[in-house]
Symmetry: C2
Subunit: 195 residues, 2 copies
Protein backbone atom coordinates (compact mmCIF):
# COMPACT_ATOMS: atom_id res chain seq x y z
CA UNK A 1 0.00 0.00 0.00
CA UNK A 2 1.43 3.34 -0.99
CA UNK A 3 -0.03 6.11 1.07
CA UNK A 4 -0.85 9.48 -0.42
CA UNK A 5 2.04 11.95 -0.21
CA UNK A 6 2.22 14.43 2.59
CA UNK A 7 0.87 17.87 1.79
CA UNK A 8 4.24 19.61 1.91
CA UNK A 9 5.71 16.97 -0.36
CA UNK A 10 2.99 17.52 -2.93
CA UNK A 11 3.40 21.29 -2.73
CA UNK A 12 7.14 21.04 -3.21
CA UNK A 13 6.79 18.68 -6.11
CA UNK A 14 4.50 21.12 -7.86
CA UNK A 15 6.85 24.02 -7.13
CA UNK A 16 9.77 22.11 -8.60
CA UNK A 17 7.87 21.17 -11.73
CA UNK A 18 6.81 24.77 -12.28
CA UNK A 19 10.26 26.19 -11.68
CA UNK A 20 11.98 23.60 -13.85
CA UNK A 21 9.50 24.08 -16.64
CA UNK A 22 10.19 27.78 -16.61
CA UNK A 23 13.95 27.32 -16.46
CA UNK A 24 14.15 24.85 -19.31
CA UNK A 25 11.83 26.91 -21.47
CA UNK A 26 13.82 30.09 -20.87
CA UNK A 27 17.41 28.88 -20.83
CA UNK A 28 19.37 29.20 -24.02
CA UNK A 29 21.38 26.10 -23.23
CA UNK A 30 19.28 23.47 -21.46
CA UNK A 31 22.35 21.44 -20.54
CA UNK A 32 23.44 24.34 -18.36
CA UNK A 33 20.37 24.26 -16.20
CA UNK A 34 21.78 22.59 -13.12
CA UNK A 35 19.89 20.83 -10.38
CA UNK A 36 21.07 23.55 -8.01
CA UNK A 37 19.47 26.12 -10.26
CA UNK A 38 16.18 24.25 -10.23
CA UNK A 39 16.23 23.80 -6.47
CA UNK A 40 17.00 27.45 -5.88
CA UNK A 41 14.37 28.66 -8.32
CA UNK A 42 11.79 26.42 -6.68
CA UNK A 43 12.74 27.63 -3.21
CA UNK A 44 13.52 24.08 -2.16
CA UNK A 45 16.50 22.09 -0.96
CA UNK A 46 18.44 19.88 -3.27
CA UNK A 47 17.59 16.79 -1.29
CA UNK A 48 13.91 17.43 -1.78
CA UNK A 49 14.39 17.66 -5.48
CA UNK A 50 16.24 14.37 -5.76
CA UNK A 51 13.85 12.57 -3.43
CA UNK A 52 10.93 13.64 -5.60
CA UNK A 53 12.40 12.82 -8.99
CA UNK A 54 15.29 10.49 -8.38
CA UNK A 55 17.68 12.06 -10.83
CA UNK A 56 18.09 14.78 -13.40
CA UNK A 57 16.79 12.45 -16.07
CA UNK A 58 13.79 11.65 -13.88
CA UNK A 59 12.90 15.29 -13.50
CA UNK A 60 13.17 15.97 -17.21
CA UNK A 61 11.10 12.92 -18.04
CA UNK A 62 8.42 14.06 -15.60
CA UNK A 63 8.31 17.45 -17.30
CA UNK A 64 8.15 15.79 -20.69
CA UNK A 65 5.37 13.47 -19.59
CA UNK A 66 3.30 16.46 -18.51
CA UNK A 67 3.87 18.31 -21.76
CA UNK A 68 3.02 15.33 -23.91
CA UNK A 69 0.02 14.12 -21.97
CA UNK A 70 -2.49 15.62 -24.45
CA UNK A 71 -0.68 13.99 -27.33
CA UNK A 72 -0.62 10.60 -25.64
CA UNK A 73 -4.30 10.89 -24.95
CA UNK A 74 -5.06 11.87 -28.52
CA UNK A 75 -3.16 8.86 -29.81
CA UNK A 76 -4.75 6.41 -27.42
CA UNK A 77 -8.33 7.43 -27.82
CA UNK A 78 -8.60 10.60 -29.83
CA UNK A 79 -10.10 11.53 -33.16
CA UNK A 80 -8.62 10.64 -36.52
CA UNK A 81 -6.06 10.70 -37.89
CA UNK A 82 -4.14 10.30 -34.61
CA UNK A 83 -6.50 7.94 -32.86
CA UNK A 84 -7.09 4.26 -33.49
CA UNK A 85 -9.08 3.38 -36.56
CA UNK A 86 -6.99 5.28 -39.04
CA UNK A 87 -5.33 3.35 -41.84
CA UNK A 88 -1.90 2.36 -40.42
CA UNK A 89 0.30 4.23 -42.85
CA UNK A 90 -1.68 7.42 -42.51
CA UNK A 91 -1.64 7.06 -38.75
CA UNK A 92 2.12 6.65 -38.64
CA UNK A 93 2.54 9.81 -40.68
CA UNK A 94 0.11 11.70 -38.46
CA UNK A 95 1.84 10.56 -35.28
CA UNK A 96 5.26 11.53 -36.56
CA UNK A 97 3.99 14.96 -37.55
CA UNK A 98 2.38 15.43 -34.14
CA UNK A 99 5.60 14.43 -32.42
CA UNK A 100 7.48 16.85 -34.62
CA UNK A 101 5.15 19.67 -33.62
CA UNK A 102 5.43 18.90 -29.92
CA UNK A 103 9.20 18.84 -30.16
CA UNK A 104 9.27 22.14 -32.00
CA UNK A 105 6.99 23.64 -29.37
CA UNK A 106 9.31 22.46 -26.59
CA UNK A 107 12.70 22.69 -28.19
CA UNK A 108 14.82 23.15 -25.11
CA UNK A 109 13.03 20.62 -22.99
CA UNK A 110 13.22 18.07 -25.79
CA UNK A 111 16.88 18.77 -26.20
CA UNK A 112 17.42 18.12 -22.51
CA UNK A 113 15.35 14.95 -22.74
CA UNK A 114 17.35 13.44 -25.55
CA UNK A 115 20.72 14.55 -24.34
CA UNK A 116 22.62 11.59 -23.09
CA UNK A 117 22.88 12.61 -19.46
CA UNK A 118 23.65 10.21 -16.70
CA UNK A 119 24.51 7.54 -19.20
CA UNK A 120 20.88 7.12 -20.22
CA UNK A 121 20.62 6.88 -23.98
CA UNK A 122 17.46 8.05 -25.73
CA UNK A 123 16.89 4.50 -26.83
CA UNK A 124 16.79 3.24 -23.28
CA UNK A 125 14.04 5.60 -22.22
CA UNK A 126 10.61 4.09 -21.64
CA UNK A 127 9.02 7.02 -23.41
CA UNK A 128 10.94 6.28 -26.61
CA UNK A 129 10.36 2.56 -26.41
CA UNK A 130 6.62 3.01 -26.15
CA UNK A 131 6.43 5.18 -29.23
CA UNK A 132 8.73 2.84 -31.08
CA UNK A 133 6.59 -0.12 -30.15
CA UNK A 134 3.47 1.62 -31.36
CA UNK A 135 5.00 2.59 -34.68
CA UNK A 136 6.47 -0.87 -35.15
CA UNK A 137 3.09 -2.48 -34.65
CA UNK A 138 1.44 -0.10 -37.08
CA UNK A 139 4.10 -0.73 -39.69
CA UNK A 140 3.69 -4.44 -39.27
CA UNK A 141 -0.02 -4.04 -39.80
CA UNK A 142 0.82 -2.11 -42.94
CA UNK A 143 2.69 -5.10 -44.23
CA UNK A 144 6.26 -4.05 -43.60
CA UNK A 145 7.09 -7.44 -42.18
CA UNK A 146 10.32 -7.88 -40.29
CA UNK A 147 11.66 -4.51 -41.34
CA UNK A 148 9.08 -2.67 -39.29
CA UNK A 149 11.22 -2.28 -36.18
CA UNK A 150 14.17 -0.84 -38.04
CA UNK A 151 11.86 1.33 -40.08
CA UNK A 152 10.29 2.76 -36.94
CA UNK A 153 13.71 3.67 -35.58
CA UNK A 154 14.69 5.36 -38.81
CA UNK A 155 11.50 7.37 -38.96
CA UNK A 156 11.97 8.51 -35.37
CA UNK A 157 15.57 9.43 -36.15
CA UNK A 158 14.21 12.05 -38.53
CA UNK A 159 12.69 14.01 -35.68
CA UNK A 160 15.53 13.93 -33.17
CA UNK A 161 15.78 16.95 -30.97
CA UNK A 162 19.27 18.10 -31.84
CA UNK A 163 18.63 17.82 -35.56
CA UNK A 164 15.48 19.89 -35.27
CA UNK A 165 17.32 22.39 -33.11
CA UNK A 166 20.03 22.67 -35.69
CA UNK A 167 17.57 23.08 -38.54
CA UNK A 168 15.46 25.69 -36.80
CA UNK A 169 18.25 27.43 -34.93
CA UNK A 170 20.50 28.02 -37.88
CA UNK A 171 18.93 30.21 -40.49
CA UNK A 172 17.05 27.96 -42.81
CA UNK A 173 13.91 25.95 -42.86
CA UNK A 174 11.00 27.59 -41.17
CA UNK A 175 8.61 25.49 -39.18
CA UNK A 176 6.30 25.14 -42.14
CA UNK A 177 8.97 24.03 -44.55
CA UNK A 178 10.36 21.63 -42.02
CA UNK A 179 7.04 19.88 -41.51
CA UNK A 180 6.47 19.69 -45.23
CA UNK A 181 9.95 18.42 -45.98
CA UNK A 182 10.08 15.77 -43.30
CA UNK A 183 6.50 14.77 -44.06
CA UNK A 184 7.38 14.25 -47.70
CA UNK A 185 10.27 11.95 -46.89
CA UNK A 186 8.17 10.03 -44.40
CA UNK A 187 5.43 9.52 -46.98
CA UNK A 188 8.00 8.37 -49.44
CA UNK A 189 9.34 5.75 -47.10
CA UNK A 190 5.88 4.62 -46.07
CA UNK A 191 4.35 4.34 -49.48
CA UNK A 192 7.25 3.17 -51.53
CA UNK A 193 8.27 0.10 -49.58
CA UNK A 194 6.17 -2.87 -50.50
CA UNK A 195 2.77 -3.02 -48.98
Amino acid sequence: MTRPPRSDAARNRAAVLAAADELFATAVEPARVSMDDVATAAGVGKGTLFRAFGSRAGLIQALWARRTEPLRHAIESGPLPLGPGTEPRRRVAAILDAILVVKLDNRHLTLALEERSGGVSLYEQAQYQLVHQLLSDLLRDAGQGDESELLAHLLLAAVRADLLDHLIGGRGSSRRKLRAGIGAVVDLVLNGSGG
Copy 2:
Protein backbone atom coordinates in the same frame (compact mmCIF):
# COMPACT_ATOMS: atom_id res chain seq x y z
CA MET B 1 55.93 30.74 -39.50
CA THR B 2 55.07 27.78 -37.36
CA ARG B 3 58.12 25.83 -36.41
CA PRO B 4 58.12 22.05 -36.35
CA PRO B 5 57.19 20.61 -32.97
CA ARG B 6 59.86 19.59 -30.56
CA SER B 7 60.70 15.90 -30.57
CA ASP B 8 59.32 15.22 -27.10
CA ALA B 9 56.07 16.97 -28.03
CA ALA B 10 55.67 14.79 -31.10
CA ARG B 11 56.47 11.67 -29.12
CA ASN B 12 53.93 12.55 -26.46
CA ARG B 13 51.27 13.34 -29.00
CA ALA B 14 51.73 9.94 -30.57
CA ALA B 15 51.66 8.24 -27.18
CA VAL B 16 48.40 9.96 -26.29
CA LEU B 17 46.78 9.02 -29.58
CA ALA B 18 47.79 5.41 -29.16
CA ALA B 19 46.64 5.20 -25.57
CA ALA B 20 43.35 6.95 -26.23
CA ASP B 21 42.65 4.78 -29.23
CA GLU B 22 43.16 1.71 -27.11
CA LEU B 23 41.04 3.03 -24.25
CA PHE B 24 38.09 4.05 -26.40
CA ALA B 25 38.17 0.78 -28.30
CA THR B 26 38.26 -1.26 -25.11
CA ALA B 27 35.98 0.64 -22.77
CA VAL B 28 32.42 -0.54 -22.52
CA GLU B 29 31.20 2.97 -21.86
CA PRO B 30 33.18 5.55 -23.83
CA ALA B 31 31.70 8.41 -21.83
CA ARG B 32 33.49 7.02 -18.80
CA VAL B 33 36.92 7.31 -20.33
CA SER B 34 38.17 10.40 -18.56
CA MET B 35 41.00 12.65 -19.59
CA ASP B 36 42.87 11.54 -16.48
CA ASP B 37 42.57 7.97 -17.66
CA VAL B 38 44.01 8.87 -21.02
CA ALA B 39 46.86 10.87 -19.51
CA THR B 40 47.75 8.08 -17.11
CA ALA B 41 47.57 5.40 -19.79
CA ALA B 42 49.80 7.46 -22.04
CA GLY B 43 52.30 8.09 -19.25
CA VAL B 44 51.88 11.81 -19.66
CA GLY B 45 50.67 14.76 -17.61
CA LYS B 46 47.21 16.17 -18.02
CA GLY B 47 48.56 19.53 -19.10
CA THR B 48 50.40 17.92 -21.98
CA LEU B 49 47.26 16.25 -23.13
CA PHE B 50 45.22 19.44 -23.16
CA ARG B 51 47.99 21.44 -24.79
CA ALA B 52 48.17 18.92 -27.60
CA PHE B 53 44.45 18.56 -28.27
CA GLY B 54 42.75 21.53 -26.69
CA SER B 55 39.84 19.66 -25.22
CA ARG B 56 38.20 16.29 -24.89
CA ALA B 57 36.29 16.91 -28.09
CA GLY B 58 39.52 17.84 -29.83
CA LEU B 59 41.18 14.59 -28.84
CA ILE B 60 38.24 12.51 -29.99
CA GLN B 61 38.05 14.35 -33.28
CA ALA B 62 41.75 13.76 -33.84
CA LEU B 63 41.26 10.05 -33.25
CA TRP B 64 38.28 10.03 -35.56
CA ALA B 65 40.16 11.88 -38.26
CA ARG B 66 42.88 9.23 -38.16
CA ARG B 67 40.43 6.38 -38.36
CA THR B 68 38.52 7.87 -41.25
CA GLU B 69 41.46 9.05 -43.27
CA PRO B 70 41.27 6.10 -45.70
CA LEU B 71 37.57 6.71 -46.23
CA ARG B 72 38.09 10.42 -46.87
CA HIS B 73 40.78 9.60 -49.37
CA ALA B 74 38.60 7.04 -51.12
CA ILE B 75 35.81 9.56 -51.46
CA GLU B 76 38.02 12.35 -52.71
CA SER B 77 39.96 10.45 -55.29
CA GLY B 78 39.26 6.78 -55.03
CA PRO B 79 37.71 4.18 -57.30
CA LEU B 80 34.01 3.88 -58.00
CA PRO B 81 31.50 3.84 -56.54
CA LEU B 82 32.91 6.04 -53.74
CA GLY B 83 35.07 8.28 -55.83
CA PRO B 84 34.05 11.10 -58.16
CA GLY B 85 32.53 10.11 -61.44
CA THR B 86 29.83 7.87 -60.07
CA GLU B 87 26.24 8.76 -60.82
CA PRO B 88 25.19 11.03 -57.90
CA ARG B 89 22.48 8.87 -56.41
CA ARG B 90 24.60 5.78 -56.48
CA ARG B 91 27.47 7.69 -54.96
CA VAL B 92 25.33 8.97 -52.10
CA ALA B 93 24.22 5.45 -51.32
CA ALA B 94 27.79 4.17 -51.47
CA ILE B 95 29.06 6.92 -49.19
CA LEU B 96 26.35 6.33 -46.63
CA ASP B 97 27.09 2.62 -46.61
CA ALA B 98 30.80 3.28 -46.20
CA ILE B 99 30.10 5.64 -43.31
CA LEU B 100 27.89 3.01 -41.76
CA VAL B 101 30.64 0.44 -41.98
CA VAL B 102 33.23 2.74 -40.46
CA LYS B 103 30.90 3.57 -37.59
CA LEU B 104 30.18 -0.08 -36.96
CA ASP B 105 33.90 -0.80 -36.97
CA ASN B 106 34.50 1.94 -34.42
CA ARG B 107 31.38 1.86 -32.33
CA HIS B 108 32.74 3.25 -29.11
CA LEU B 109 34.83 5.94 -30.67
CA THR B 110 31.92 7.04 -32.84
CA LEU B 111 29.70 7.10 -29.81
CA ALA B 112 32.16 9.36 -28.03
CA LEU B 113 32.40 11.57 -31.11
CA GLU B 114 28.70 12.16 -31.41
CA GLU B 115 28.02 12.49 -27.74
CA ARG B 116 27.28 16.07 -26.94
CA SER B 117 30.22 16.76 -24.70
CA GLY B 118 31.40 20.21 -23.89
CA GLY B 119 28.32 21.70 -25.46
CA VAL B 120 29.45 20.77 -28.96
CA SER B 121 26.57 19.33 -30.93
CA LEU B 122 27.22 16.82 -33.69
CA TYR B 123 25.84 19.32 -36.13
CA GLU B 124 28.42 21.92 -35.20
CA GLN B 125 31.36 19.65 -35.91
CA ALA B 126 33.41 20.42 -38.99
CA GLN B 127 33.57 16.73 -39.79
CA TYR B 128 29.78 16.48 -40.00
CA GLN B 129 29.41 19.67 -41.94
CA LEU B 130 31.84 18.52 -44.59
CA VAL B 131 30.00 15.26 -45.18
CA HIS B 132 26.70 17.05 -45.18
CA GLN B 133 27.95 19.54 -47.71
CA LEU B 134 29.16 16.78 -49.97
CA LEU B 135 25.89 14.87 -49.81
CA SER B 136 23.88 18.05 -50.32
CA ASP B 137 25.80 18.87 -53.46
CA LEU B 138 25.37 15.38 -54.81
CA LEU B 139 21.66 15.43 -54.13
CA ARG B 140 21.36 18.77 -55.85
CA ASP B 141 23.13 17.32 -58.85
CA ALA B 142 20.62 14.51 -58.73
CA GLY B 143 17.83 17.01 -59.11
CA GLN B 144 16.57 17.20 -55.56
CA GLY B 145 16.47 20.96 -55.70
CA ASP B 146 16.00 22.91 -52.52
CA GLU B 147 15.21 19.83 -50.49
CA SER B 148 18.71 18.48 -50.85
CA GLU B 149 20.05 19.95 -47.62
CA LEU B 150 17.26 18.60 -45.49
CA LEU B 151 17.45 15.28 -47.27
CA ALA B 152 21.16 15.01 -46.54
CA HIS B 153 20.51 15.60 -42.84
CA LEU B 154 17.80 12.96 -42.78
CA LEU B 155 19.97 10.40 -44.52
CA LEU B 156 22.79 11.03 -42.08
CA ALA B 157 20.38 10.75 -39.17
CA ALA B 158 19.85 7.14 -40.19
CA VAL B 159 23.44 6.29 -39.31
CA ARG B 160 23.80 8.08 -36.00
CA ALA B 161 26.10 6.41 -33.54
CA ASP B 162 23.71 5.86 -30.67
CA LEU B 163 21.06 4.39 -32.93
CA LEU B 164 23.55 1.96 -34.41
CA ASP B 165 24.82 1.12 -30.97
CA HIS B 166 21.32 0.40 -29.82
CA LEU B 167 20.54 -1.73 -32.85
CA ILE B 168 23.71 -3.78 -32.65
CA GLY B 169 24.03 -3.85 -28.88
CA GLY B 170 20.56 -5.07 -28.12
CA ARG B 171 19.87 -8.45 -29.55
CA GLY B 172 18.58 -7.89 -33.02
CA SER B 173 19.85 -6.95 -36.42
CA SER B 174 23.21 -8.33 -37.28
CA ARG B 175 25.65 -6.21 -39.18
CA ARG B 176 24.53 -7.69 -42.48
CA LYS B 177 20.86 -7.14 -41.90
CA LEU B 178 21.51 -3.62 -40.71
CA ARG B 179 23.38 -2.65 -43.85
CA ALA B 180 20.72 -4.21 -46.01
CA GLY B 181 17.85 -2.59 -44.12
CA ILE B 182 19.28 0.88 -43.97
CA GLY B 183 20.47 0.60 -47.56
CA ALA B 184 16.97 -0.29 -48.68
CA VAL B 185 15.45 2.74 -47.01
CA VAL B 186 18.15 4.98 -48.40
CA ASP B 187 17.56 3.70 -51.92
CA LEU B 188 13.87 4.25 -51.47
CA VAL B 189 14.37 7.86 -50.50
CA LEU B 190 16.87 8.47 -53.24
CA ASN B 191 14.99 6.89 -56.10
CA GLY B 192 11.43 7.72 -55.19
CA SER B 193 11.69 11.46 -54.84
CA GLY B 194 11.51 13.22 -58.14
CA GLY B 195 14.54 13.12 -60.35
